[in-house]
Symmetry: D4
Subunit: 247 residues, 8 copies
């Protein structure tokens, strides 16, 4: 916030703003109040990215209202954890929006973002982990990154992973998605020196405890170089990967 | 119970009650037995508030019977954690009752309560936390309090919170509602010296463990001045805030 | 922070501060940097209370250095979760400081604080819960409150609690401390209409899970009016009680 | 099993059985093999009670086949944790069977059992706990016990409990059923000297963790004399209470 | 409490007590206040048993003071969860007291209690479970019960259990103590029709989770007739067994 | 993988492969890439068994495509954790496939496998555990093993188990399936010297915590000789049993 | 137990035993009662192995008494989870006994056991896992098995594992020991078709939760063929491996 | 591993290696076998960093032997989670090694590493979190990174954090270390667009559950851009930060 503060202080100093006006500027500028939501348009300046809408627990009406405001500002749109019925309602107002049925995301690119410097490898242990990987992929795309998808190369058949070793080695960041025993990120981190974001998934049953087993395994990864995000949090992995890829 | 006891003892002493009558008075007076429920009409005297009906796990028939008895006594009515279908059934018997679809509450004000001395600030971290905040708001209202609603000012964009700082600072009690990482109450408690009731919500997924993450965070709040209630317990927060606000 | 900001802005407006000086003021004023700790002297103004030192995990040297700076500012001193050996070292530098061996606190009153308006009742379920209650008591005292101690009145003999009912009823705030099944706060909240702060303790064994059983019980208290703090957090209870008592 | 063994050994000794026949007797006698279930008809002799059918996870066909075999042996029938649709199917084959929609039990009394010596008090904290209490009541009944139902006397209004104190004091065994903070059994055990079976229920939300909070509270009951059964296990409580009541 | 109340009311009615005196009687009679502890001498009348001192978390001084008051009233003394060093200090004041080094109890019989009607079988799965069984045994003894000790008959060698079958079958109540997989109570409950109190112990390591595995197993016991107490709670088992045995 | 490597190295040595061709061989040979899945045809050589399809979390389309590729290679087919609707879709493409409605498996035997050396005993504690046992049975069958099914012989009536003792004693491997308190594997392991695979099931409620209680009990089995698989993992038990039976 | 029963029945039939004598035989034969322990000498016949002494929670005196009885019967001795001080005391009575300071075991071979048919591979992920592996090795040895130790080949450097691939491939049973993320067993099970016993260890900190993370990972192993034992249970792994190796 | 494989294949192709020699090369080259440990010297080539020794659970002798081999190869040395007594023993053999008493690390720089491109900000919430931050700092240093230490700026006094905002904004990677409620990383991630590695610490008590509360909070961080490592895993954070900083 400092640059904003600096700017305001300078204006006050030069007499261009009264203290009262300055306080108002600081209070009113950075977000737009819809009562039930305060859209953070300033984030695009502050953090380089538009505000992403987390769909869970919001009504369709709330989602659509927020989405329209973002669209009006010509920002890119990304809504995560959202069902097809919401999409159908939203489409009436924003017909160009796209739905990814695996990733459960709605998105719309209106603006070109600065491209990331390298490629992001998005890798899954199994076929059932693909929805989470797709959420990561959609996020990487809307934030301006190139990526490879390498799916179903888990530890039940390590040679499948090694068959993709060359491709993986060339990534600038790796997103490794796995449920069950969650061993894939540890195995990959053991053979490469690339920042790796581990995403546990809720794939599994019984003692997988809805992804807790995979989460704990990843947090305890014996090889270093692994940062972990929440269970099924493809978005979070894509966002962090994009930050790193844009360095 | 002492005043009741004192009163009875005095009557016994003056010969106005036999010991047997005294025992009956003590046994029969304070509640009304509906077999499946014992309505605590005495609570209004003892605790200053009417009995609130917790809707979960009760049949519509049970809820309506209890509600009617409360209405008959001219008390205010509040039913929490209750669905719209119950409301439709109840409305046939109590047509003036009102349903709040976000808060999932049924209420009816019949009696004016003593007003609280100040304002209660009800603050949420996100839009998805609003239903819990609304349950708190309905409770604050039925118990005779003024309040401000300040929604969607979580740590993902702290400047939104600071934009509301002046309003918050004037509250007598704060109710801070947050899911996910549950950081909002700690952040607020770090900048004000006002009693704060923290309400974790089940908003989130995966390692949020249905609100457990937020609950633990709030219990471990580094700044002091924070009391925590159950996950999604908007009612409990409103009730405690009202007690404090009426001091 | 607004009043500080307002003040600075006014000075800038009047030409008494350059923007650069203003930024420095905002940056340098409110805390004192000891490298390993940043003492928040501003808190006394902002929150009405001095910074309290949480002793766990700090070296004796760190604790003593921070304590001396607080003493130098003529503030009141409170250090919690601290052992007797630390006290012995600290006493060489701050000979007037006092150690409470049950509460495991070091304190020194240098300044009179505004008195709270009523009394705080500090109640324990058992004798083993007393150390946590004493931490609450020391905190209440250093923050300017009167209080009653009512110890060992848990549900194993409810008549002991009712024997103290008159005293409890006159409190402005109640702190109820219990381990094991943690039923005491619920029982008290069922018979009074006073804000109650519940403190679970780690007293117990086996399925008490170091206080988790009592914590969960208190969070699920059927009667309303209960706010919960962390297990064994006597300080947090005293601090919140004091905020309420000063309203 | 010793009496059976003794009997067989005596017959072998007297030449009434060959060793081979003896082995067959021991192997074949005590249960009836339906491939998917082995009905323990011997239990009625060995344990004094018929085998009770636990309905969860069994197909309707399996339940009905087992029930018919029990009916054919003229035993009393009790099926727990069973839905109304199963009852409708079963009724076609066993038209006299009765369904308790609150308790979710099917039962049929064909045989008089020895009566228990005293009364069992079945007490609930709230209205929402009644289904579990009803499962206990049905079980007590089918096993030959008299009982009182005392519902909705939890700690939110202790005077309701004390109003029933005389009735409770006369019980030979108490079953105390509570969800949420689970304090009721501890409170009762603090004022009577009667064996008490505590039944936690899944009534509650959030930090009640589907009854875990109440379970832990009951296991940590400060007053003695409390034995705990599984969450929502009304049957288990009724069964144990009946064993004690028949001593 | 009713009889006390009745008695007081009658005296008030007959003019033998003023209301003020009556209130004082009710308040002062039933316990003795040592500030840090309120000894419940009334319990002996109310519950038939003296107050037992739970040693954990109490200072030696507190324990000894309470013990002396109990001794002065000519009650029997039982202190649980207490170390040998406490015993050495206590012996100076109460030289006749006895320490059980396995059970970690101090006891002194001054008064004969009414004998229980039958025998209590105290059974352990392994040798390592003996200390908990001994705590149960000491408790049974001080409360006036006969008992058998049957140790080390767990499921690793079921024939050892069956070798004791005759003895077990004659018990009026069974206390079954087991750590690790906690299967013993379920196995016994499957072959007898006697009330069984299951005591999980913290014997084991790793996934035994300090007794949690055994506790959960016992709560889920497939055969009925099992009531569970806290992990390592030999006292609680003995107390409940004694209540049942005195019916 | 060594034999493959050896083979390739030899070919390179003899000039039959260039290093580039060798690398391609190593990379491309062992699996078939369907983008969303990489079928491990090499597994049949490497591990002696075909790849089994885990159905949970896969779309019908994905399952059917993978199944067809396996069928095309003349391998045996096994799909686990799959619903009847998937089977109906799959049947259109692979009409000979069979569905086991209890086990929730689809299978098709096209190839005879080497027979295991002995019999596998598949034992359940209750009727509700049968679906998991059936998954194990289907797996044992498709992998070339003979087996006995011994159902409903849990600890609630141990004599039922002992009635089957002779059959069990002759097994080469035992699979013991139990929910609730999970005691059956420990009891069996206490009386035989045969490798035993314990399968906890999610049968139960409340403190069974969806099979966690049974899982912990089995991991803490006092008798040795017990290996545990995931909750409800009939497939895993059958697979491991088959490996042992083929030694 | 059937052969014993058969034998006794035959003797009764031939008049060589009275029923009373038969009952005594059945009751007294199979174990030796030391009051605090019942040594299962019959196990050697029944299960092929001597009783192993689990040291945790037993006093030195108890351990030594049991050990002497086993030594007197000329059985092999194995004591697990035992400290060096116990060994020093035991050595005075059994001077030939040996202590393994890593494995924390005392053992003495007096009798040759039948050799297992193949080799057991004992593999650890790290150096810190060696103590658990050593407990497994001592157990394998005392039960008559050959084994290889392959230590420190975890996923942080997979090529170390593949360097040992030839040795591992030749094992008849594999014991894979790992803490932290517990990925090693899954990786090995992915490349061999050999029964694998996975042993989680408590190596790690924080979210390893004393081995729980590794335990959950192993239970969720994506490749099949993995049976899991308790955390740090080297003995259990060795015992099960020996059973399999002797098939 | 591909480059190694390529190289070997080329040599085989050119006849410079026989297949047997090639296999030996592949097997023997990359690590050094000390029986109890296999040092991964190849890692320096493969991953760019030397093998770091995790000290927990290793004997002093093991640590020193491994350290000497690393020193002999002229690699940089880092040992984590190690006590001062180990350092004293190690110093006799490697006198130049340095011990950091806060971080509990031993290190020795022998070789200059490629410098990272920017600065890493290492930030703690409190003074008690410093040891974990120091472990991160030592790791950053040995891996060739510049860094700032910003300690004690947690949410209890947010203005302390904002006072350091300019410094933080210039970092290329942020490491945010916090115990208790773990809010700091979320707050920072809400105001910057820099990759952030969150390190929960075990600072706290009661419901902090040894860092679990902070861990869960960080995994659920509402703002994106946060990757989490294990509780107290300063090393892991430093390692991942270094990987990112060297991109």
């Amino acid at each position: 916030m400092k640059s904003l503060l600096e700017d305001v202080l300078k204006k006050v100093h030069k007499g261009k703003l009264t203290p009262e006006e300055a306080l108002n500027t600081l209070k009113d500028y950075p977000y737009q109040d819809l009562t039930f939501a305060k859209i953070d348009h300033h984030r695009e300046l502050r953090k380089g990215y538009p505000e992403i809408i987390y769909g869970l627990g919001k009504t369709d009406e709330q989602i659509i209202t927020i989405a329209q405001e973002i669209i009006n500002k010509k920002s890119n749109l990304l809504i995560t954890k959202v069902g097809e019925s919401t999409f159908k309602n939203l489409k009436k107002k924003i017909p160009q929006a796209k739905f990814n049925p695996l990733a459960k995301t709605i998105s719309l690119k209106q603006q070109k973002l600065v491209s990331g410097k390298g490629k992001i490898s998005i890798i899954t242990a199994g076929t059932s982990d693909i929805p989470v990987a797709e959420e990561a992929a959609v996020t990487c795309e809307i934030l301006g990154n190139e990526f490879d998808k390498i799916y179903d190369v888990g530890v039940a058949g390590l040679h499948r992973l090694f068959g993709e070793y060359n491709k993986i080695k060339q990534a600038r960041v790796i997103i490794a998605v796995a449920g069950m025993e969650g061993a894939l990120p540890s195995v990959i981190a053991g053979v490469v020196d690339i920042p790796l974001i581990a995403v546990p998934t809720s794939v599994g049953y019984g003692a997988s405890m809805k992804g807790l087993a995979a989460l704990l395994a990843m947090l305890n990864s014996c090889p270093g170089g692994v940062g972990v995000v929440n269970i099924d949090n493809g978005f979070g992995a894509g966002y962090l990967a994009s930050l790193i890829n844009h360095l």
